[in-house]
């Protein structure tokens, strides 16, 4: 697998855009993806795929109007047609007096997230790794399902005022579900460098959960102390952080409207957005090419800051923080590099300190029930265990929760050190495991 987009190639594409664009101002957003994914289930590889694509998105600005046109055909006639389409679409709309000119050249902090070995990982190498995981499953008569993926993504953003931003990054992911006759276990890890993944350890963890959770028992829904593994924490927090966008607060669609500067969470909650954290991923610039800044979002439970795209910042009298989405968009901005401070406890410490409670591996199908109270509903999945007298006793059939995530962050009793965490309900974060009291479960299922 080879990375197709270099800074030089991106610049050549942009030069053609500038050649053909007759807009007052022009921005080009060029992305390139080359990725592959090996998928297994029923102890065999059942899907194995690869893709490559380079796409150009042109934004034209004319007389306080803007619009975007995109293509993955990069011959000159297609580039010309795309430039013309963006301009024509822009001209067809009423002017927006608040539309800002494109930003000038910016300076970006350094992030190094590209590993050639990961970009070049072969299907044979992925298959051999998967084969070893399948052998682990078969050792205990378990059935394994999961994915092993790898690839590279490059993003270039250029504009007619001379702004140039380029970022390339490799990606890799291994996730595995181990199924027993009556139970299952799951584990997942992502990294820019595939050699930092530990598929054998993930398989072992998922297998132990499946084996120890066999013959799960019924538990009546109620409020219980829960120990949330980092993936379960991520699953829930993912539904909170879009509310830290300035525009969401300004428009009254955020649960933080009227709460900025107030103590919303518990004393022990500290959260920041930090693209430069060594366990984070992504480019050091936003959808307009503004440099991403570190932003302290929550300190001692107080909502200290929001994040702002350029236009939101102007509207709200703030400085842009470099968290805007590509324009035009309805959403404004969001922090996407969440780092939550944790504590010093281990998962074992939390279990030992719990007279009665539940250990949650991950959640599933979470949806927002109430946007201001931030009540979420969802199910536990792939490893729910009953804890009594400081020890895991047995597996429990999955439960549905209805829980305000704001309330939850007022009831955190213990935390582990934060770690790079991946889940299926949210983007990746650096978050701890948590022990939370009075987590509200409302119904049960039979699996």
């Amino acid at each position: 697998m080879t990375m197709m987009l270099t800074r030089q190639r991106a610049k050549e594409i942009f030069d053609k855009v500038i050649k053909y664009s007759t807009a007052e101002e022009t921005e080009a957003y060029i992305t390139s993806t080359a990725s592959a994914l090996t998928r297994f289930a029923n102890n065999t590889i059942h899907q194995n795929v690869a893709e490559e694509e380079t796409a150009l998105s042109v934004r034209a600005v004319v007389e306080h109007r803007t619009a975007r046109a995109s293509t993955n055909r990069l011959d000159e006639p297609s580039i010309r047609q795309t430039c013309e389409a963006a301009l024509a679409l822009a001209r067809l709309q009423p002017p927006n007096p608040d539309l800002l000119p494109l930003p000038h050249p910016q300076t970006y902090g350094s992030v190094d997230r590209y590993y050639p070995e990961t970009a070049e990982l072969t299907p044979q190498a992925r298959a051999e790794t998967v084969l070893r995981v399948l052998q682990r499953a078969e050792k205990d008569q378990l059935t394994a399902a999961g994915v092993y993926s790898s690839g590279a993504v490059a993003t270039a953003l250029f504009n007619s005022r001379g702004l140039e931003a380029f970022h390339e990054e490799t990606i890799s992911e291994f996730s595995v579900t181990m199924l027993g006759p009556t139970s299952s276990g799951w584990a997942k890890q992502t990294s820019p460098f595939h050699l930092e993944l530990n598929p054998a350890a993930l398989a072992e963890r998922a297998a132990r959960k499946a084996l120890e959770g066999g013959s799960p028992r019924d538990l009546p829904p109620d409020k219980y102390t829960v120990i949330l593994e980092p993936s379960a924490v991520l699953d829930l927090l993912g539904f909170l952080f879009f509310d830290f966008g300035g525009l969401a607060v300004h428009e009254g669609r955020s649960c933080l409207t009227g709460r900025v500067g107030e103590k919303v969470f518990g004393d022990n909650i500290f959260v920041r957005d930090d693209v430069f954290h060594p366990l984070q991923s992504g480019p050091p610039f936003d959808g307009e090419g503004m440099p991403r800044r570190r932003v302290n979002l929550v300190e001692q439970g107080v909502v200290k800051n929001l994040v702002y795209a350029r236009s939101t910042a102007k509207k709200m009298g703030k400085e842009p923080t470099g968290h805007g989405f590509p324009l035009p968009n309805e959403y404004g901005e969001a922090p996407l590099n969440i780092v939550m401070e944790g504590g010093r406890a281990t998962l074992d410490d939390m279990i030992r300190s719990t007279p009665r409670g539940l250990l949650v591996t991950r959640f599933w199908y979470i949806r927002e029930v109430d946007p201001y109270q931030k009540i979420l509903t969802g199910m536990t999945r792939d490893g729910l265990f009953w804890i009594e007298e400081g020890k895991i006793q047995h597996g429990v059939k999955n439960l549905r929760f209805n829980q305000s995530v704001i309330e939850m962050l007022r009831q955190v009793e213990m935390m582990s050190p934060p770690q790079r965490t991946a889940g299926e309900e949210s983007f990746e974060m650096v978050v701890p495991a948590m022990k939370v009291r009075e987590f509200n479960f409302s119904s049960a299922t039979k699996y």
């Binding site: 059942h46 490559e52 293509t71 679409l89 992925r126 051999e128 009227g258 549905r400 299922t445 699996y447």
Partner: protein, 485 residues
């Protein structure tokens, strides 16, 4: 396009594929939106590429590219075969496919008004008119309106000799009024939440929806919800509006009947199904008045799951799923049909685009209409809550325990809607719920809803599905569950 597909196919076979199919797609999309009196988004995109799916060494491989040069085509076909050979390292047995015929055909979905021919300025004018109507109502703090158009042309060729061209145009439109007051956010949407209504048709859908005409009432309801009492908690009879019945079908019937879930291939992500193979033909899924079909044929209507052929060249079909309450059918692929001994796939393999492999996806999974109007059903109901327009949805990974919230509700007493209630929600167990259905409204209330955002697979694929539904009544359901803590 056909030549490109044919060339890639020949290369894949020459490289050692025992079976190969190739899809070449050209996709054009346009999205327009407004927010609080201003244009929010105007964007257009096109995407052109090719995907090669092969069986080699008895295992699957797939590769896709946007490099449609002779070198690009040769490389992608060879790569698909190389990937399949790697898959074979971990195979248990050779892939077997149910037999299928060769088809050489072309089909274009009916489209009266090409949405890309409608001037963008005319579309924006309409959205801004709706926006203005919404914001005329005091208390509306956010007005959001949108239109979404997509046209897809696809050539499918396979080593069976099939060569199929299909063209589909899809249109979506809708709006939402948000009211923030005190410590509460309330929303009302029309004609449905999360983007509105979507169908496989042209701009005529936008004209049929009468967006401007519905804006005042929707805006007033969003504001009125603040002063409405909370939906009571307890066990109650409920009537669901037709779009909510559509989503209930999607989550608690459409997904569990996907045979790949049943056979475990989605275990790591989308999940499995409570509908194990032993239940086919024996499970009483629902009450006797419930009949559900999976129907991809154009005669079912312009649903998002309407097509002539699926993405492995199998003709679209009408498949009974629930007959008089009995569970009688799954959605299948050629591979899964063979796995359970069926002579043929019922044609449910669909891919999001040229760079994705087809998966079993819902077609139009629809509830057959019963009798009578919604007004007549309400008049026939002594004590219940009527719930309309989805606000939240969640179901476990076997599709058994679910919970839904809707934007608005009304208490029904002695055959009349007596008062609005806010934050309605209900929950239950799939088979218990469908067995409690005792009334389904008739064809005059039946709408073929589009769900444009159904996610499944790794890498994730988003697919549009169709769900025909009329309002329906369910007895003794747990309501108010979301706020019960």
């Amino acid at each position: 396009m056909k030549d490109l597909a044919q060339r890639a196919l020949e290369t894949a076979v020459a490289q050692g594929a025992s079976y190969a199919d190739v899809r070449v797609l050209s996709v054009r999309q346009r999205y327009l939106s407004t927010k609080n009196g201003e244009v929010a988004q105007v964007r257009e995109s096109e995407s052109y590429g090719l995907g090669v799916r092969v069986i080699a060494g008895g295992a699957w491989g797939f590769a896709s590219t946007d490099r449609l040069t002779p070198e690009g085509l040769a490389a992608v076909a060879a790569r698909a075969v190389e990937i399949a050979q790697a898959s074979a390292l971990a195979k248990k047995s050779d892939v077997q496919l149910a037999p299928e015929e060769k088809f050489v055909d072309e089909w274009e979905a009916p489209c009266q008004i090409d949405p890309f021919s409608v001037p963008v300025s005319r579309c924006l004018d309409l959205l801004l008119k709706v926006d203005a109507e919404l914001r005329k109502v005091q208390g509306v703090t956010l007005a959001e309106c949108q239109m979404d158009f997509r046209r897809q042309e696809q050539w499918f060729v396979s080593s069976l000799g099939s060569a199929i061209r299909q063209v589909k145009t899809q249109t979506g439109a809708g709006f939402v009024a948000t009211s923030f007051a005190g410590n509460e956010i309330q929303r009302r949407s029309y004609p449905n939440s999360f983007g509105g209504q979507y169908q496989t048709k042209g701009y005529e859908l936008v004209e049929e929806l009468d967006l401007v005409g519905h804006a005042p009432q929707i805006a007033e309801e969003a504001v009125a919800l603040h002063s409405a009492p909370q939906c009571p908690a307890g066990v109650r009879d409920i009537i669901l509006g037709s779009s909510q019945v559509g989503l209930q079908i999607h989550e608690s019937i459409g997904h569990p009947i996907e045979l790949d879930r049943v056979l475990g291939t989605e275990a790591n992500f989308a999940g499995m199904s409570f509908l194990t193979l032993d239940q086919l033909g024996s499970l009483k899924y629902a009450s006797e008045i419930v009949n559900v079909v999976a129907d991809a044929t154009p005669s079912h209507g312009p649903g998002l799951g309407t097509f002539a052929y699926d993405d492995e060249g199998v003709p679209g079909q009408r498949t009974p799923i629930i007959q008089n309450g009995q569970f009688v059918g799954y959605l299948t692929s050629r591979e899964t049909a063979a796995a359970i001994g069926k002579p043929r796939s019922n044609g449910a393999m669909r891919a999001e685009g040229w760079n994705r492999i087809p998966l079993i996806r819902m077609t139009n999974v629809s509830l057959e209409p019963g009798r009578g109007t919604l007004d007549a059903l309400i008049a026939d109901t002594d004590d219940a809550i009527y719930m309309e327009t989805n606000r939240s949805w969640s179901i476990d990974d076997r599709r058994y325990n679910f919970q839904f919230g809707t934007e608005i509700g009304w208490e029904i007493k002695h055959g009349k809607k007596v008062r609005m209630v806010k934050n309605p929600s209900y929950g239950g167990i799939t088979t218990e719920f469908w067995n409690s259905c005792d009334a389904i409204c008739g064809p005059e209330e039946w709408t073929l809803w589009g769900t444009p955002n159904c996610g499944k697979g790794q890498p994730m694929q988003t697919m549009g599905t169709g769900h025909g539904a009329s309002p329906a009544r369910f007895r003794r359901v747990k309501v108010g569950v979301a706020y019960g803590s």
